[in-house]
Amino acid sequence: MSETVTPTTVDELRAAVLDRPGTIRLAGAGTAADWAGTPAPADTVLDLTGLSGIVTHNPGDMTVEVGAGTPFTQLREELGEHHQRVAVDPARAAEGATLGGLFATADSGPRALQYGSLRDLVIGATIVLADGTVARSGGHVIKNVAGYDLTKVLHGAHGTLGVVARLVLRLHPTPQVTATVAVPCARSASADLARRVADSPVEAAAIQWHGSDRGDRLLVLVEGSERGADTRARRLAEAVGGELLAPDDAEAAWEAHAASVRARPADRAVFRFGVIPSSLTGVLDGLEADTGGLAEVTTSPRTGVATVAVPADADVVAAAHRRVADAGGTSSLRQRPAGADLPAFGPAPASAAVLRAVAASLDPDQRLGRGRLAPWIPAPTGVSA
C-alpha cells in the first residue's frame, strides 16, 4: 500500500524524495493517471498539488514561474488580469490538470498549430532527481542558450527521470479578439480544405476537424486585434464557404471538441498519434478499417496529429501503434478503462537506447514512475530500490 506525501516547498519535496526509500509515483490532479504505461506499484505517491501558485510574475517581461502543481485554469485566470496567457489549450485543463502534469505528459491542444506545445513555451525549470539533487536549467529570459536545455528531457517523461518542481514559462498577450469559422466538411475532404485555409493569408491559430452531433466540420480559429481578426475571419468564411460563429456558438464548438479529446467512452481506449500531415487521411482510414470504426475523432490536418477512441483490446491497440510506426509517426495511449492491460507505445525506436542511458544516469534505480515508459525503459529485474 503506498503512502501519499504532499510537499509544499521544493525543500520539502527534496526531503520527501531523500527520506523515503523505494519507488515513487508522481501525481498531480490525476487527469492523466491512466496515460502512458501502467505504473508499477509504488511505495510512495508524491502528490505535487501542494506546489501550487505563482512564484514570480513580472508582467513586463512576459514570463512567469509557477509551482508544478498549479492548476492550468487557475494560472490562466491570474494571468488574464494582466491580459497575458500561456498559449496552449489542452483539453484536460478543464478537468483541473496542473502545469506539471501537462508538461510531463507532453499534452497540447488545437493552438499547437501556431504556438507549439509546452516544450516550446517552458524556458526554465527546477527539478529534483531521485538522489535528492536539486537542479535548475534555463532561466527567466526567453532568449537563452547557456547550458543544456535539460528541461526538455522531462517533457513527455511521464513522471520518470526526475520530478519537475517549478516551471518558468514564456507568456503571450491575450488577443483582443478570438473568432471561429466553421466549415461543414467530411473527414475525407478535410485535408484539402485545411490546406486552402493554410494557403490563405488568414494565419489561423488552430485548424481542427471534428465529427460530432453538430455535424462534421472544420473549425478555424483566428486571433488578433479588434479590427484585424474579425476582418480576417470574415474574409476566410467568404473564401471557403464557412460561417463565422457567434461567440456562444464558437465556445460551444470548441468545448465539444475538447470533450471528445478527453472522452472516456465505454470499452474504448483513447489513442493519440502524429504523422506527417499528408499521411494523416490514409492512416486514419487504415485505423478505421483495422478497428471496425473509430469514435470521438478529432484531427489537426495541418500538424498531422489526431486523437481517436479505439476498442480497448490489446491486439487492436498494438496494431494501431504499428500502423502509425509504419507511417513514420509516433503514438501513445491515453485514457483507457480501469485495469485494461494495453500497450502504451509502439515499437521502440533506435533512440530508446539513449533514453535508457539517460534514465540510468538520472535515476539508476528507477525509483520514479517505474513502468510509465515500459517497454522502452523496462522495469529493472531483481533491483529493489
Binding site: G139, G147, A157, A357, V358, S361
Partner: protein, 508 residues
Amino acid sequence: MPERTMEAPHGGTGSDAPAAATPPAPVGPELARDFRDVLPADSVITDEVGRRSYECDGLTGFRQVPALVVLPRDADEVAACVRICARHGVPFVARGAGTGLSGGAMPVADGVVISLQKLRRILEIDVENRRAVLEPGVYNLDISKAAKPHGLYYAPDPSSQQVCTIGGNVAENSGGAHCLKYGFTTNHVLEMEVVLADGSVVTLGGPTGEQAGPDLRGLFIGSEGTLGICTKVTVRLLQTPEAVRTVLADFPSIEAAGDTVGDIVDAAIIPAAVEMMDSLSMEASEAATGAGLTVDAPAALIIELDGPADEVDAEFEHLTAICERHGATRLHVPTEAEERQKVWKGRKAAFAAVGRISPDYIVQDGVVPRTRLAEVLTRIAEMGRDAGLRVANVFHAGDGNLHPLVLYSEAAGEHDAAEKLSTDIAELCVELGGSLSGEHGIGTDKACSMPVMFSPEDLGVMHRVRLAFDPDSRCNPGKLFPTPRLCGERPGKYAPHPLEEAGVIERL
C-alpha cells in the same frame, strides 16, 4: 559582482563531475590509414597547412590545430568516421561553416575535426507538408531561397545566415532578429538524424510535434556538439507573411526607447523584430553605410511588423502612436522593400562598422529581462567609464539580448582591461536575472563563466546527461563545461573573421 571562478566548480557527484577529458593517446599513422579506408584520400587532411585552416571558428582568439581533419560526404561516412574515432579512443569536433562566435568548433589537440561541409544537399522541399529535409552543411539562407518560389520560408535568421549552416544552427540553437515572434531553431526543428559518440545512428524527434516519450530532440539542440553529430534535419517552413512594415524611430533617450518597447508589448503587439542602437553604434554604422540613421540621436529603434495585411495595418497605427507618445523625434517609414533593406543594412553593418571608430573591439552577447534594459545600459556605461573604455550598444531590444561592443586599442595595451570589462558585462547580465548568452553559445569562450549562472549541482546534472550520450566525453570535449585546464588559460586578442572583413557576415 560575483568573482570569475578560475577553478573548476566540480559538481557534488564525484567522478560524474565536469572535468577535463582523460588525455587521449597521441594520434598515430594508423588513424589516418583507417580514415583513408572509408574516405577518398583527399578527404583526409593530415598536412600542417591544411589542418591549420581549421584551427579556429569565428572567435579567432582561441586557436588549436587538430591532429587530423576528415571530410565525409554523407551520413554513412560520418558514422564510419565517428566509429573510427571510437575505436581509437580519440576525441572529435564536428564543424559546419566555422562561423560560431564562442569557440564551439575550436579543435582539440590530438583530436579529429569532422567537417560537414560536403553534406550540403537540400534533400527535400515538401510544399504540401511545409517542411524541408536538409543535410547539416546547407546554408541557413539557402533554405529560404529554395522555399521562396512556393511562398514559404525558414524563420530563424541569424545574421550570419548567408554563411552559417543548419547543422551549426542546431548545435547552437540559433535565433536571429526575428526570434521574438518566431522563436529559435528548437521551435522549428521537427526531426533529426544523429550519429552518437559510439557511431550508432538514431532519429530524435518525429514528423510532428507530438511526442512519445521524452524530448531528446530538444535536449540535443543547443548542446554545442557535445552529444553527437546531426547528419539530417527536418525543419518546418512557414508561409511568407502577407505584409511587412518597418519603422525607424529616433528617441531623445535610451530610457524613452526602452519604455516604448515596454508599451508595445503591453499593447499586445508582438513585433517580428525590435532592434535598438545607441548613438555610438549609429555614428559608426552611418559612416559605413549611409543608411539614413540620425547620428546625434541618443537612441533609435527599428521595429518591424509582419502578418496579415489588416492586422499589420491596425498594429502599425497603434505602434507609431506609442512611439510619438514617448517623444520620438523622427519616424522614418520606408515604403519600398529596397528602402527597408537600407534601414536593415544600417543595423546589420553596425558591428563591422565599429572598426571605423576603434582599432579593436570585443563583441559580447548577454541577455537581461527586458524590463531591466535601461538599468543594465546605465550599469554598462558606468563600468565602461570606470575601465576608461567606450562601449557601443546594438541589441535585440524585444527579448533583452544585448550585444555590447567593447572598444579598445591593442596598441595602447588595453586588451586585458577590455577582456575583463566584456566578461564583467556578461556576468552582470546573470546578476540582473538574465543569461550569459542569448545566441552565441558558451563554447570555449564562456565556459569559465558558467558557475556564475549555474550551481555545481546544475552543472553536475548536465554533465550526467552528457555522459549518458557520450560516456568517454569524446564529442567536442572542453566546451560548455568549465574545466581547470580551460579556465587557467587566457584568450588572445580578438581579430575579425576573414568573412567578416569581406563583409559577408557580421557579428550580431
